[in-house]
């Protein structure tokens, strides 16, 4: 029985995140929680390659491999703070601000 505002985090993984101008920030690959007064609260999601490599805990090998494949600037993907995320519809997570502001 799913209560009113219950969200299955395992189904969030793999969902693509779009901003208000329908630009894609990549698929959610990792979700980070923080302990606050005895409760674990979601504080950040990681998308794209950085998320995937974090989840596979192979930032070392992965970063090296992606460097080989020409990922010049950064590995790719975004670290999105919880406050920028809108989960009104958990199947289609949205950004509450343009992608540029995430940086």
């Amino acid at each position: 029985m799913v209560s009113a505002r219950e969200i299955h985090l395992e189904r969030l993984i793999g969902c693509k995140v779009y901003d208000s101008e329908h630009r894609c920030a990549g698929a959610i690959e990792e979700i980070e929680a923080e302990l606050q007064d005895g409760e674990w609260v979601v504080v950040k999601v990681l998308t794209g390659p950085i998320g995937m490599l974090t989840r596979l805990s192979s930032l070392g090998v992965g970063g090296w491999l992606l460097g080989l494949l020409g990922a010049r600037k950064s590995i790719g993907g975004y670290e999105i703070e919880w406050r920028h995320l809108d989960l009104a519809d958990p199947a289609r997570p949205r950004l509450t601000c343009p992608l540029g502001d995430i940086g």
Binding site: R55, L56, S57, S58, G60, V61
Partner: protein, 407 residues
């Protein structure tokens, strides 16, 4: 190294030799020798080098983290990814276990003259009973030590006095002397038989069954390196005897009965029975491994308690998994499907799914959460990268080659 440990290494090496061959290795090596004499020996060599790495790494993973390869792939890549290699592995296990049961049935047909499909159910019951009552040690060591009889192929190859110069040249990679499609299909089948996914799943589970720890890493390396190298000598023996007995007469390998002639050549009457017993024991050992492997991968994928060293009542889901697997595969033989055709088809299918199984190795073997400071060095990583590349090539060419050169 302490005497106890030395004995364990010796046992490990012997069981690697005894357990090296299976129905796929025999069929592909005999076909290679019969069709191309010694010129595919280099494929067995490369395959063996890959096997050494693909056995050492899962053994190390399990010894350090107490998690098997199947565990680690699900834990790291998630269920959405892992569902595909496990479904593919189920299909391949179903076919290969059927072929292995067929191998035992053929051996019994050779010994008794009774048609092989009549033996399917008795063989299946014997396999199930051994798994039900036997511990992992008994199965792994007992059956594999009996497998030492397969050294008859090495003896046969020596007795036939092959032209050692030509044999040596066979270890140098060379293009196809004739029939390129069949040559490369046979090469892919040999690799498919050697680098089979069950190695990763079975050896990591076996290391946990044997209770290996960090102190066993050297033994793991020795057993993998020395054991597999000697083990491949047996497969090379099959290839050389086929090259010496079948090739000159133009006998191709369309049926296991023809492979029996490879030992009848050098040893006459004894050779015939040596072949039948070798085939029977080798395939029986491989049946055990394939059946248990099905139990391992489903239990580890879903997180059940598992273990062949546990009594059936202590791991009922694991036990039922391998029981159903044996029952399902036996149907293939009861309906009389030709074991050799089934073998070659499952080898080609294995080649197609290999990348899905081997690729996660590069991530997991560099994950400190599992291996601490025992992660891969850059040499091993380079070799794994090469193996992954090889498996992708094999996956792409296996089916077209089967169509062009396999039939």
């Amino acid at each position: 190294m302490k005497p106890g440990k030395l004995l364990q290494v010796a046992l490990g090496v012997l069981t690697s030799i005894g357990g090296f061959l299976d129905v796929g290795a025999i069929a592909t090596a005999a076909d290679a020798g019969a069709s191309f004499r010694f010129s595919l020996l280099w494929v067995v060599l490369i395959g063996t080098i890959c096997v050494i790495f693909l056995v050492e790494m899962p053994g190390r993973l399990a010894a350090v983290s107490k998690h098997s390869y199947a565990d680690a792939v699900r834990e790291r890549f998630g269920f959405q990814f892992y569902i595909w290699p496990i479904l593919a592995e189920f299909v391949v296990d179903f076919l290969v276990l059927g072929a292995e049961i067929g191998g035992v049935c053929i051996a019994l047909q050779l010994l008794t003259g009774i048609a092989f499909h009549w033996w399917a159910i008795p063989v299946a019951l014997a396999v199930w009973l051994t798994a039900w009552l036997g511990t992992f040690d008994f199965i792994e060591n007992g059956v594999a030590l009996l497998g030492l009889i397969t050294l008859a192929f090495v003896a046969g190859a020596i007795v036939l006095h092959p032209p050692w110069g030509e044999v040596a040249r066979g270890f140098v990679p060379a293009p196809a002397p004739h029939e390129p499609a069949h040559y490369w299909f046979t090469a892919v089948s040999i690799m498919g038989a050697l680098i089979s996914p069950y190695l990763l799943y079975f050896y990591s589970s076996g290391a946990i069954e044997d209770g290996w720890g960090k102190q066993d890493l050297t033994m793991n390396r020795l057993v993998a390196g020395v054991g597999m190298s000697f083990g491949s000598l047996v497969q090379m023996g099959v290839l050389v005897t086929a090259a010496m007995v079948l090739a000159p007469r133009g006998i191709g390998v369309d049926q296991y009965g023809q492979i029996a002639l490879t030992l009848v050549g050098p040893f006459g009457k004894w050779g015939y029975y040596l072949f039948a017993v070798s085939l029977g024991i080798t395939c029986f050992g491989a049946c055990m491994e394939q059946a248990l492997e099905t139990g391992f991968i489903v239990s580890q994928a879903l997180g059940w308690n598992w273990g062949q060293s546990k009594r059936p009542v202590d791991a009922t889901r694991f036990t039922m998994a391998y029981t159903l697997s044996i029952a399902a595969s036996t149907v293939l033989m009861v309906v009389g499907i030709d074991p050799l055709k089934l073998t070659l088809f499952s080898m080609a299918l294995t080649a197609v799914m290999l990348p899905l199984v081997v690729t996660p190795l590069l991530v997991i073997m560099n994950d400190k959460h599992y291996l601490g400071e025992h992660t891969n060095g850059w040499v091993t990583n380079a070799v794994v990268g090469l193996i992954i590349g090889l498996t992708f090539v094999m996956a792409v060419v296996a089916i077209p080659l089967e169509y062009l050169g396999g039939g």
